[in-house]
Symmetry: C3
Subunit: 344 residues, 3 copies
């Protein structure tokens, strides 16, 4: 259950380096990604029309994708451009997908290519901006992509799953506020006059601010379909206006999450952090990425075991508490979009 | 195919130490075990009513089981006792199972809790007695629990599976005698005037008896439903009355087997030995346990491959020789009990 | 989909050494192989009629196969010959398969034993001949056996799959010629006046011939049902008649392939090389075998992934180019034989 007529992150540009194509299943479509002669990304069905070999076992050669079995050369449009000793006109074309490099990711539209709309690509305020830095990674997780959306739209789990790192009791004690704006869902939590946890102490120092004073803290999670969750997080010296305080007295960043279904029960999870402090410090980027990799890794077992439990008890209705409103409303948006897609 | 209204060994008490609960599937029920504030064992469905996470990934906190995902705190009765910021009255209860610590094991009744009868717990003559010592372990085996019952109710396999340890040709040469007493099945074999194998030589020395003289040997296997097999084994100096000889001229012990179905095709196999010689010697207990672990490990491949063969040839009728009478009669008891359960 | 009334290679004689029987699934039949008292190979269902244990977990004892569970002793004909304390007349027989050692392999006929015809065993011109040497090995591959036949009957894949070893561009540039002779299919490719690749340079030196001159090269692939592919390969000094040149100016060998289905989607692949140069050099035999093991190992991932792709897109029709004629005609022979078998 996922929209197919939508842009999903397929991979990062470095995964398409050299002459190796990339095979990756996305929304149950087996797709091979490679770069054509002009460097633009192409995305095709991972199935050679000659004998069914996966094209992703081949190599990129002169802007075409050469099958690693018998040398058929597939063009970026899904039509065969050459095969030794053969007339290419007899070969059937294979399916092509819309794919594009944008804002530091490769995006794919697993649905009808005619419907793919470049204007629908998300605009990321921090991408390519010198006053921001970005670092991230990927996890493969065996769960329905909606369980990951639930996870990110309810950060009370930080207190339990991430008790040893970013969790703090105060998160749990403040009720979130949730609202829907068109297809977007926003759930936010604001905490006042609390101690700054270690990550934010470090960030405050990076901004030249004291790290031992009470702060106001915020977490603003924004779901955008099909499966993007951006979480604005930050602290300001207490009593200065919190999220709305003058930039000179606060530190903030954006937790970036793109959740791409592989199948109905597995995902490619692209996570990262965009920050507006010390953007010129690549060692800090690395250090934050490794910290985030460790913390986000703590969720994996829980999500996979939750998936197994829900499959074992398919008839059970889960609860929808106030803390679950973010995930619940996000699922409704997805249900509506999928219903529209099926009706069309 | 197993009775659900029956007591099964779920785990040993040491598996419920510290603040970690134990998740274990028993008779196809996913159960989480933990200790309440009074130290008594609780057993609940391993499913958090909030979002379906396995409660066994949580931790025991102040006599409750705290879900590791969002902090719901489940009481020993299967009702929610607390969750930060939530009214607990809205939460549905989850299923509770009867569980009790008894004679050095934790027992669970996977069927209807209303039917759980503490008086039906087996009485183990050796448990907690200073003149006895007990040591044991557990194996997970991918086979129908009845294949393990067959195995233990026909010890001719010792000659082949355990040729290098406890097997001896004489076992094979004596026909067993099998009888049914109510729901119990007893199959026994008595050998007279034979050499003592190494294990029993050691035991005779422990009793201050000579180890180089002929002995009478016995094996008395007793099946008690649902899946307990106690095997009285021993030797006496030959011609003194065998099993009925004066305790001063014999050495004996009880091979203890509790076979708990995990699913229709896998088991938790609790094995051990209770002995009446040298009970005050813990090093001997350890040494016997390690020997038994090695010997009982020799059965695993055979049982798992037998299971696979029977699944591959489901229409085949197996033979029921005189040596198979113990297993055959035990299966009939089980069939009767399951039929009664289904009729009720 | 494979003929069952046919001879397949089951194993090599060294796999039946000592007292260990060999369990191997062939054409979806679970078979145990062992040697009787006279050293002849016996093949039986891998299922003890007593309790269903795999006989292959037992041991060969005095020309019988003793079950490793309770000591039943099975004779080479599939009838029980002894069991301690039991009358053997009550035991049902198990299925026997025709099996025979021939030309350095153990062959089995997984179909009706009444139809097994020793005269139908293939005659291998090189087997047991002092002027030839043979070395080979085995791979287990998760693919339909016909994919391996396709692979061997279209050597254009050498240019891509084996680019770093035996592939050369000239293979790709010459169209093969394919013909059917009764149940056999021959596809051949002849290349003239080309450089000798390293393997053939070595072979030319072995014949005392220059290794730096142009050669004529040939590849003659011969499919014989059910699944044997012999590939005559060689080079001659250019312009001397190629394949028909005087033996004094050429070097040649036979690539030997026996493809035995395990199931519909997995195979036991026996590969080797029989050569007519330096037959007295066992170090060369070893060196060729290891080279071949490495090269043939390059096909495995491609075949397994092709199998997965074909299962994922079962409705797709594959192309049948001229290079595919060898495999295509071989499949037609197999379809005809299977249809005949099913009609009978």
């Amino acid at each position: 259950m996922f929209p197919k007529n939508a842009w999903y992150v397929a991979c990062t540009p470095d995964e398409l380096a050299g002459d190796k194509p990339l095979g990756r299943r996305i929304c149950d479509e087996a797709i091979v990604f490679f770069r054509g002669a002009d460097g633009a990304v192409a995305a095709l069905e991972d199935f050679c029309p000659h004998r069914g070999a996966p094209l992703s076992l081949g190599r990129v050669f002169d802007g075409t994708l050469q099958c690693g079995y018998h040398g058929l050369r597939m063009g970026c449009e899904g039509t065969v451009v050459a095969m030794p000793g053969q007339r290419t006109s007899v070969f059937p074309a294979i399916r092509r997908y819309a794919a594009v490099e944008h804002h530091g990711f490769v995006w794919v539209w697993p649905g009808r290519i005619e419907d793919a709309d470049p204007a629908a690509l998300p605009q990321l305020e921090w991408a390519g901006r010198p006053d921001w830095a970005y670092g991230g990674g990927m996890y493969h997780v065996n769960c329905d992509y909606r369980l990951m959306i639930d996870n990110l739209m309810d950060l009370t789990h930080e207190t339990y799953v991430h008790a040893g790192s970013i969790g703090q009791k105060e998160i749990d004690e403040v009720a979130p506020q949730t609202r829907v704006e068109g297809d977007e869902v926003i759930t936010e939590r604001r905490m006042f006059d609390i101690p700054a946890p270690p990550f934010w102490q470090m960030a405050l120092r990076g901004m030249g601010l004291p790290d031992d004073r009470p702060v106001d803290r915020w977490q603003i999670c924004r779901f955008t379909p099909p499966s993007q969750v951006m979480i604005e997080v930050g602290v300001a010296l207490a009593g200065q206006g919190g999220h709305e305080a003058d930039p000179a007295v606060k530190a903030s960043s954006i937790v970036v999450d793109f959740i791409t279904p592989e199948t109905e029960r597995s995902i490619w999870y692209f996570w990262g952090m965009a920050r507006r402090f010390k953007p010129e410090d690549p060692a800090l980027t690395d250090s934050i990425r490794e910290g985030q990799r460790k913390i986000f890794g703590e969720d994996l077992q829980m999500l996979e075991r939750q998936q197994q439990n829900l499959e074992a008890w398919p008839e059970r209705r889960l609860m929808k508490l106030n803390i679950d409103a973010g995930g619940t409303f996000s699922r409704r948006v997805l249900e509506r979009l999928v219903a529209q897609e099926q009706a069309a």
